[in-house]
């Protein structure tokens, strides 16, 4: 907090006084952890249902087919979504040296988003769905999402336009790209013709519908689960490690390359399908190119920690960040590999993909979300973390859980795929009955549940720890800041936030 107040006194003008709204930040933080637990729990339930099909009985509302989209939606839009807003509502005002633009919009945004999540849970369990992955919600909810998203965007843009800092820090570029692209993706993919209040048909058919859906689906990963978290990474790692970002130039190159290239990669979800070949090839080529900007982000994040690796040992925040960013690097190498046609022929339709996405969701999105929670909650409650030891236990439970989850899915996925493709010497399928290839990997399904259970246990420890942290402190709902408005001419004199080492002013989130 003290970092946010300029430490030098270049100013000739009287300081301005304003207040950061920490209550909204807190609310998004609570929503992050609550929906996180819900999302993990539903995930564990569907995992157990694959091991014990009669688990929880055969009740329509709790059936696998209806809970699976609830799990994916809860984790992506409820857990990661609230985590994004948690991070942005904390970091954006501090990066712009101004409060969020409109407090009423903040409230509408918060409660609107939670209402959408509740509506999703109610409709999906009733079998009200469009069936398009990560876009299952029916048209009235789609409209609500678009409206709340615009509220979020307006609030963010308003904040940026009223900033007291001349240049937008790299984190803000990623926040902007997130807002713009998700809006385009959501609106275009949701074109549907309503039949009734709860039923609609996609405007597109067959191949075109598949292309639009995976253009959306893949870029939901890119612009909902990647760019906002990269922005948060650019804020949090320098803050938590007290180091400037490794390279400003790299951040420019990898930002523009990432937003331009990502969009093209959607067709790699449709390799060897009825999608025209030229579109499949474009998807492959751009997926492979994506390694470069993705690794640019990872390298910039990890190398920011150069000379500060000793602090990683002591800080659970940095531990989660390091594992998260490393997992991001691994996933973004693995993704392009899986987008190669010959590799995809093996991994597509199998649990390998499930392992891949969980590496991203649990380690990268989960890691950054928990890092944020452990960093921000003590600060807005004006206290230290209740128990660093407990947070470390959480870290190891999560890491171990991810290992169990991902490795079992890799192993099971490849095993099953090879069984699907095996022929006898007579030219007959070695395993003509599909079921044999399922029973073969049941132990892997069981191990996956163990991994998921460990991850959930870790998250429950975080609940206890954060609850106790809030109890021992008190919420600084309105945080007073004194700063000097940066005039265009005076901008180069903007004070650096930390002294004592050669800070690159352009790349420090002060």
């Amino acid at each position: 907090m003290t970092n946010d107040v300029p430490s030098t006194s270049v100013s000739m003008q009287p300081p301005e006084v304003f207040h950061y709204d920490n209550r909204t930040v807190r609310d998004f933080g609570v929503a992050t952890i609550v929906w996180g637990i819900v999302g993990f729990l539903v995930g564990l339930i569907v995992a157990l249902k694959l091991v014990y099909p009669d688990f929880l009985g055969f009740v329509p509302e709790l059936s696998y087919g209806r809970l699976r989209p609830l799990h994916t939606n809860a984790v992506i839009f409820a857990f990661a979504g609230n985590a994004i807003f948690f991070g942005i509502y904390y970091s954006l005002p501090r990066l712009c040296k101004t409060p969020m633009w409109n407090q009423a919009l903040s409230k509408v945004h918060f409660w609107g988003w939670q209402a959408i999540i509740v509506a999703a849970a109610l409709t999906l369990t009733q079998g009200i769905t469009t069936s398009k992955e990560y876009a299952e919600l029916e048209w009235p909810i789609d409209i609500a999402i678009a409206l709340v998203w615009v509220v979020f965007g307006a609030n963010m843009l308003g904040t940026i336009y009223t900033r007291r800092v001349r240049h937008m820090y790299v984190a803000i570029w990623f926040y902007l790209a997130t807002f713009i692209t998700v809006a385009v993706l959501h609106i275009v993919n949701s074109f549907e013709l309503p039949v009734s209040l709860f039923k609609s048909y996609s405007l597109y058919a067959g191949v075109q519908d598949a292309l639009v859906q995976w253009w959306y689906g893949h870029n939901a990963v890119a612009f909902f689960l990647t760019t906002p978290f990269l922005g948060i990474m650019y804020y949090l790692i320098p803050k938590a490690a007290n180091r400037p970002v490794f390279s400003y130039r790299l951040s420019i190159i990898h930002f523009w390359a990432l937003v331009f290239l990502y969009i093209w990669a959607g067709p790699h979800h449709l390799l060897y399908t009825a999608l025209p070949d030229w579109a499949q090839s474009l998807g492959v080529v751009f997926s492979v190119m994506l390694i470069a900007p993705s690794w640019g982000g990872m390298i910039n994040g990890l190398l920011t920690l150069r000379g500060a690796w000793d602090t990683v040992r002591k800080s659970p925040v940095l531990k989660f960040l390091v594992v998260g960013v490393t997992a991001y690097g691994m996933s973004t190498f693995e993704g392009p590999m899986m987008a190669l046609k010959n590799v995809n022929a093996l991994t597509h339709y199998t649990d390998y993909t499930i392992g891949h996405v969980h590496m991203g969701a649990l380690a990268w999105n989960g890691g950054l979300s928990f890092a944020m929670l452990y960093y921000i909650i003590p600060r807005i409650y004006r206290t230290g973390l209740y128990s660093v030891k407990l947070a470390n236990v959480h870290f190891w439970a999560a890491t171990l859980g991810i290992m169990f989850y991902v490795l079992s899915m890799y192993f099971g996925g490849i095993t099953q795929s090879l069984m699907w493709k095996e022929f006898t010497a007579d030219g007959l399928l070695r395993y003509p009955n599909f079921l044999e290839t399922v029973t073969q990997i049941m132990p892997m399904y069981a191990l996956r549940s163990v991994g998921g259970g460990l991850y959930l246990t870790g998250a429950l420890l975080a609940v206890i720890n954060l609850w106790a942290t809030a109890r021992q402190g008190s919420l600084l709902a309105s945080e007073e800041v004194r700063t000097r408005r940066c005039r265009r001419s005076a901008c180069t004199e903007r004070p650096t936030c930390t002294a004592g080492w050669k800070a690159d002013r352009r790349s420090s989130p002060c």
Partner: protein
């Protein structure tokens, strides 16, 4: 240069918008506008009203989460599932249901593969037809009524989206739906399953039986199929085949019966008590009782009842046929628990001495 941009949020945001739009436009516009990208197939017709409702049941239950409908052009997939999927087969699919995960098998060519009763039984208790299956049961589809009040609106909506239903068909749709449902319900009751025609399961079966069958109407496809059928001659020429009694042969017959390859058990049950197919342990046999006759019947199957040649379509040698037939005969009178009731229309009784 970039420093300039960093001070201008509007320009920055617009440039980002341009950057993200390029790829999407270049990939989508030709796919939507150039006809040769999605070659149409004349034989592909819109879904019937019942199938459309069944498709919506399929969507509501999230079947797409575990079952793909997109057979890739690999030998291993064509062998397992049937002809690979063509772009033109999906032109009336709003939304597409290709799926992205196969926790269960692909369903694009499931239509006509099993009798209606197999599907009903499988949805009621997947483990009955597929022991060890991890698919959940769907008892509520047998209890819940199909809400067909929207069928007219659905047909009209589909027409708006470009599906060529005739003008005014929405008035006819409900009647057509009921008629098709009655046919399926009748098929089920013939197999001893009483399911009212207005239940959701009926619509789902209608949809599943339609899947991937359109291009089988092609003249070319029919010719191919006919050629195939003449190749699989009616099973004859086994006259004089002897009943095998050696333990080794009976064990071999049992292994074939229970194998994942020929799948006899999926319709007749592991203990031969019957479920989709008849009980094989009583002495009510419709198609002959001798080893030779049973061998012939296994070889040719009963296509109209849903039994493929050799049970699953995977061929057996003459010796193997003899082993299975002998195994079946050896199990006569084994009285498994809860056998399927004999069909009252079966007139011919096989006397024990004929074996």
């Amino acid at each position: 240069m970039h420093r300039w941009l960093e001070g201008r949020p509007t320009q920055f945001a617009l440039l980002t918008l341009v950057a993200v739009l390029i790829g999407g436009i270049i990939e989508y516009v030709p796919t939507a506008l150039i006809e040769s990208n999605i070659p149409t197939i004349a034989a592909v017709k819109p879904y019937t009203p019942l199938e459309l409702e069944g498709r919506d049941v399929y969507i509501a239950e999230g079947c797409v989460g575990c079952h793909s409908q997109m057979i890739r052009p690999f030998r291993s997939e064509v062998e397992r599932y049937g002809d690979y999927s063509k772009a033109g087969e999906f032109v009336y699919d709003h939304p597409f249901l290709w799926g992205s995960k196969r926790t269960g098998p692909d369903l694009h060519r499931i239509g006509g593969k099993y009798p209606d009763s197999w599907h009903a039984l499988h949805m009621q208790d997947p483990q009955a037809t597929s022991p060890g299956s991890i698919m959940p049961a769907y008892p509520w589809l047998f209890e819940k009524q199909l809400d067909d009040s929207l069928i007219g609106a659905k047909i009209a909506a589909m027409r708006t989206l470009g599906v060529p239903y005739e003008d005014g068909y929405e008035m006819q749709a409900a009647a057509d739906l009921k008629a098709q449902a009655q046919t399926i319900a009748a098929n089920l009751s013939e197999s001893g399953m009483v399911v009212p025609a207005d239940k959701q399961i009926i619509a789902l079966i209608g949809y599943l039986q339609r899947l991937g069958t359109d291009i089988r109407g092609d003249a070319e496809y029919m010719a191919e199929l006919e050629a195939l059928m003449t190749k699989i001659e009616q099973g004859t020429g086994f006259e004089g085949a002897q009943l095998l009694v050696e333990d080794m042969d009976l064990a071999a017959g049992k292994a074939i019966y229970q194998s994942q390859r020929n799948l006899c058990y999926t319709c007749h049950r592991n203990d031969l008590g019957g479920q989709v197919g008849p009980n094989l342990t009583d002495n009510y046999w419709l198609h002959g009782c001798t080893v030779a006759e049973i061998m012939s019947n296994i070889k040719s199957g009963f296509q109209q009842k849903g039994m493929l040649p050799y049970g699953s379509g995977k061929s057996l040698t003459e010796e193997q046929l003899q082993q299975v037939a002998s195994y079946l005969i050896s199990q006569q009178g084994s009285n498994p628990a809860k056998p399927k009731a004999a069909d009252s229309t079966r007139a011919s009784l096989c006397e024990a001495q004929t074996w």
